[in-house]
């Protein structure tokens, strides 16, 4: 078996999920310079709402991708409503406050959502029911599963779609204009509050898809799953250059690949002294390294489009 190729495949899949979540961080940051720390919890809610739907359908004997699709279709509006609510209640009233205030508010929302989820879904790990046959395909010396292929396909389409909306539509133009100069955008007739809300809407929709895909891929979820995932995706966004769409995508993929290569080789390279569970450390070390040499991230500020 080709460990290298296998870890790259696994890394790209994991990384594309990071990227999907990272887009939400980067879009919101791009427009209001706020790190939406509650974004990971939106992903978690997406995963658990999806799980509830999928569980119910599985109990009736339904199987196949249709079940997952319905889970996604229920998760998306749930997360969108949640994202809009968070923006409205926790951030908008603080728009003119010192920058620390919305950050604290974000952390508060994050904790509140975790506890709320614990009340609804309990504190134990919940298992995503097995509704997929998930055949495997061999490429080179490695294996790729159908779930992995679907994840790569869906995230690819969503990333492209996000790019098209931001770069090619009137809404996207208004988003970029509002990010660059909100008061002049207002003069042009842009309702900046609405544009900010649509940014949260898009980010939360992507988070919902990411949540259900994460659940389907790893098979488990619980009320704390958004924390590490959010932190990793945020790392990916910073790595790529926060505010930059391509940066979020690149940062996500890169982080996923490096983590997986780390997990694959750390233990054998160090004769077991450092286990594969240190791959998280590797991810954050890489972040620190990039920030030392390129403080604005790989694609930050120059050379790419801030949302």
């Amino acid at each position: 078996m080709d460990i290298f190729l296998q870890q790259v495949i696994n890394g790209l899949v994991q990384g594309s999920l990071y990227a999907l979540v990272a887009l939400g961080y980067t879009m919101v940051y791009g427009i209001i310079e706020l790190v939406n720390f509650a974004h990971g919890e939106v992903v978690m809610v997406g995963a658990l709402v999806g799980l509830s739907v999928i569980e119910r359908m599985a109990a009736r004997g339904d199987t196949g991708w249709g079940v997952i699709a319905i889970g996604v279709l229920v998760a998306i509006p749930s997360c969108m409503a949640l994202g809009l609510g968070i923006e409205r209640i926790a951030y908008r009233p603080l728009r003119k406050a010192p920058r620390l205030a919305p950050l604290i508010s974000a952390i508060g929302v994050s904790i509140a959502l975790q506890q709320l989820a614990a009340l609804i879904w309990g504190r134990n790990y919940l298992h995503y029911p097995d509704v997929l046959a998930n055949p495997q395909f061999h490429i080179g010396g490695a294996v790729i599963t159908q779930v992995q292929l679907v994840i790569l396909g869906i995230t690819g389409i969503l990333m492209l779609g996000t790019w098209v909306i931001v770069q090619k539509t009137a809404l996207g133009r208004a988003m970029r204009a509002s990010a660059q100069n909100p008061s002049v955008a207002g003069l042009m007739g842009v309702n900046v509050d609405r544009i900010i809300a649509s940014t949260f809407l898009m980010g939360s929709g992507l988070a919902a898809v990411a949540g259900v895909l994460v659940g389907t891929y790893y098979g488990v979820g619980n009320h704390t799953m958004g924390f590490m995932l959010g932190l990793k995706a945020f790392t990916a966004a910073v790595l790529g250059g926060i505010g930059s769409l391509w940066g979020a995508m690149l940062g996500g993929l890169l982080l996923g690949v490096i983590e997986n290569l780390g997990a694959g080789y750390l233990s054998s390279l160090t004769n077991g002294a450092i286990g594969s569970n240190y791959s998280d450390v590797l991810a954050f070390l890489m972040l620190i390294g990039v920030l030392i040499f390129r403080p604005s991230g790989l694609m930050g500020e120059r050379g790419s489009e801030k949302v």
Partner: protein, 239 residues
């Protein structure tokens, strides 16, 4: 008769500082009116209050007979007001063409937008040559053309201009002013804030002279050009 734009008792404050101290203005349909005054006189504060960029502390602004004071900023363009802000305010990382499209953000008439875009590219060939370039890479004069073009894309009834000549080379100033003159001669109402009083008075029909947050006097542009006070204070001549 109520005027096209009627301002009564406008006060603008920044914290404790009163920048505009209760001024009245009247602008009639089709006029080109200028507001001149030294640095810090309160010209930008006045204009920004008219354009909705800042909330007046006191006073009333009526446009076509309707009170504007509580209209949210993003609805003013649909009422027919456009501002070319001080320092131009182009979107630096949007292309020239995207900046111009932003000017037409609230318009739905695709064909009309297309015609107006062509018209602006015709008036400003430099913008046409650079239409795919990021606005932040343009020269100051080109950015001013872009800011004016962008405001015109909204088809305003009243165009507010804040020091369009600021920091520009004489030749560029000529170009900008010939566009302002043409727009006004085509029937658009223009309210022009300028420090370059001579140029402004030559272009305008009427002028307000502002000092320390109050209007010192208003008269026809011609009278101002001949007024000893204006000549000594704003046109750099011995009285």
């Amino acid at each position: 008769m109520s005027s096209f734009l009627e301002v009564r008792g406008l006060v603008v404050r920044y914290g404790g500082i009163e920048a505009v101290k209760g001024i009245d203005l009247d602008i009639h349909r089709g006029e080109l009116v200028t507001l001149i005054g030294a640095n810090g006189a309160g010209k930008t504060s006045t204009l920004n209050a008219l354009a909705g960029l800042l909330k007046p502390a006191e006073g009333q602004i009526r446009f076509e007979g309707e009170l504007l004071t509580s209209t949210p900023i993003h609805q003013l363009i649909q009422r027919g007001l456009a501002l070319v802000p001080e320092g131009r305010g182009v979107f630096p990382r949007l292309t020239v063409e995207e900046n111009l499209s932003m000017g037409a953000y609230t318009r739905k008439d695709k064909a009309g937008i297309r015609t107006d875009l062509d018209q602006i590219f015709h008036s400003f060939p430099r913008l046409f040559e650079r239409k795919h370039q990021k606005a932040g890479t343009l020269s100051g004069g080109e950015q001013q053309m872009l800011a004016i073009g962008r405001a015109l894309m909204g088809k305003p009834k009243l165009l507010l201009l804040d020091e369009p000549s600021m920091g520009l080379a004489p030749l560029m100033v000529q170009t900008i002013f010939s566009v302002i003159r043409r727009v006004a001669s085509e029937g658009m109402t223009v309210f022009l804030v300028e420090q370059n009083a001579r140029l402004a008075l030559q272009a305008a029909q009427r002028a307000y002279v502002m000092e320390g947050g109050v209007i010192r006097f208003n008269a026809s542009a011609e009278e101002c050009l001949n007024d000893p006070r204006v000549r000594s204070a704003y046109l750099g001549e011995e009285s």
